[in-house]
Symmetry: C2
DNA sequence: CTGAAAGCGCTTACAG
DNA sequence: CTGAAAGCGCTTACAG
């Protein structure tokens, strides 16, 4: 690039001083006009607004943040973008932050170098807080944040960090609902397919499942737990092979998967490779209720998470802690609901 | 909150002055140590690093940005999170920005109030640039950005804005590949199902499709174009009903959908409600190659976009323009590939 | 290579 | 309500 673009200087942003000059007031007056709740006379405000408008003035949030020693940036830490559940939580999160004048700084914990460093980097932006979504690796860093009075809230990642709030779905109850639903449908040889990464939520779902199974106390119920070798669709495929490639009387007739994605893979193999009907021969329950769960090919019965509720609660907790950093840790558990579906579209093709 | 948490002052971040004091050097020396390419003696650097480490110092990027009159924040503007194609582009985008020391500020163009304002807000953060993904509403604002020397690049959203770069897939070629594939499979009554929102890429895909169809010049080929009433799975469902609910000899036998998601809905209805086999009775080609396209239930033939390539190119263009804002507009078109699949898993169930 | 000083654009007591 | 002044934490010519 030999083009000398910066010859005429870098972009010249208009500053509060420019506006003050044009409006014939002090810089303080300009600042007050743009500070909610500051005292400016109607007259001054109007002069300032007119000048600002004419000049195309925008307050420099960075400068403001420096003065206030905190930005309105909030780190959203995700663990890759592969999970189809992510967009469902990201959307309300972004919207909720926006509503409160906060801006999301997106960070992938799975970046090349290590995670610790990533999270520490967020600190350089003087983020007003951080929201860690499910799958994010364990962090002792939460402690560092806490010490610096930078609020942290974790979604679906219950842990016991001092001064860190958690917001999650009632995974146990979800597991229980799945068990009850399968048993009610007549299934007696149950299985739970968990994701490979030993997540808190995955374990809870399994625990709730077992517990409810025992409580119902139906006669002749057997149970097995397996862990998929991958957290995605393919994981469901291989899990299905392990579960179904055996004499018919030993095959499970009711499977609960810790995510819808796993359940898709499992259903496809059950139908395609083993010729089973779902839910006829094999009842399947997923978890999350992602958009594809309603697709005709699956019409999947699943446990729905209240993504909007999770996001709103998470942001609310974050904001509360921004105002009172030393609040004791809080753990919110949001209800989940069973969504029963039954394939219509594929009825004739099944 | 009656808790007076801020009694002991807000979080006390350690500053360059603190580090300087401990290291026995000037603040300039500290600054230079953390400025890539600045001249500091090895000895000074070590003293500074030791002090910084001990104190847990992190340079305040906000302050740095203010000095440099530009942040390393880059706005990523999306239009909702509903499209299953989004995560595929978001992942490499975030990773690529990170690699270059830039941080993504996520913004949803579909927020409550108007879009113009959203984009203007980004300016308050003195973003180093903005990346607009597909679906983002038209913006004359691009011009405002351009005037302020804030680079803008649009992904899959070719438009003719001065000083704005565009990066997109070869949609025309994708449409052509789809047509060739369908014709080669023996289809003669073709249809193209576009998304309702009149996006550039959707039109291009259709144009390429028609063009190739004409060029191949197979005998007795008919064609119809319909627009789904929604951009998602449900849109595919209703489009399928419109296309298939007619005497068999008038039904299309080859359909190209402008997204995989539409194609899923179409396939499910074709199989489930009309008892057709895919690709036997009806050949279907999608676009994007999102993860679910490989699911056994669909095993969908589709046109793959090079999401990583798009992201890398977009960030590269952005960075180039950060260095030379007045570069003429550039439009990159990245190749797409046909991915042919055929249901195996469902073979026995079909 | 190094330090003192000026300045980035803003907000906020402090007097009036 | 209003303005002058100090200061947020940093970088960057400018002299040495």
């Amino acid at each position: 690039m030999t083009v000398d673009d910066t010859a005429n200087g870098p972009s010249h942003w208009v500053t509060a001083a420019d506006v003050a000059r044009r409006a014939g007031v002090s810089r303080s007056a300009v600042s007050r006009t743009f500070t909610p709740g500051a005292s400016v006379s109607q007259e001054t405000r109007e002069k300032v607004m007119a000048a600002a408008e004419a000049l195309g003035y925008r307050v420099n949030i960075l400068a403001r943040s420096m003065i206030q020693r905190q930005s309105n940036l909030v780190g959203i830490v995700v663990s890759g973008f592969a999970s189809p559940f992510l967009p469902g939580i990201l959307a309300p999160l972004v919207s909720e932050l926006d509503r409160r004048g906060l801006a999301p700084l997106l960070m992938d914990a799975r970046r090349a170098d290590n995670v610790e460093e990533s999270l520490r980097d967020l600190l350089s932006y003087r983020v007003a807080g951080a929201i860690l979504t499910s799958g994010t690796p364990p962090i002792e860093l939460a402690e560092e944040y806490s010490r610096l009075h930078v609020p942290v809230v974790m979604i679906n990642r219950i842990g016991d960090f001092e001064g860190v709030d958690t917001v999650g779905s009632d995974n146990r109850r979800g597991g229980a609902l799945a068990a009850e639903c399968l048993l009610a449908s007549g299934a007696r040889r149950l299985a739970y397919v968990n994701r490979p990464t030993g997540t808190h939520s995955g374990r809870e779902r399994g625990a709730g499942f077992c517990e409810a199974m025992a409580l119902v106390g139906a006669a002749g119920v057997s149970f097995e737990l397996i862990e998929a070798d991958r957290p995605d669709y393919e994981g469901g495929v291989t899990a299905a092979r392990r579960l179904l490639d055996r004499p018919a009387n030993l095959r499970p007739d009711g499977v609960f998967c810790s995510t819808d994605e796993l359940a898709f893979g499992l259903m496809d193999v059950a139908r395609g490779a083993f010729g089973l009907t779902v839910p006829g021969d094999l009842a399947v329950v997923g978890f999350d209720d992602i958009p594809m769960a309603r697709a005709g090919a699956y019409a999947m019965t699943t446990i729905r998470q209240d993504t909007t509720g999770l996001a709103q609660r998470a942001v609310a907790r974050l904001v509360e802690r921004m105002e009172a950093p030393s609040l004791p840790s809080r753990a919110d558990v949001l209800p989940v609901t069973l969504v029963e579906r039954r394939s219509h579209l594929l009825a004739s093709a099944g």
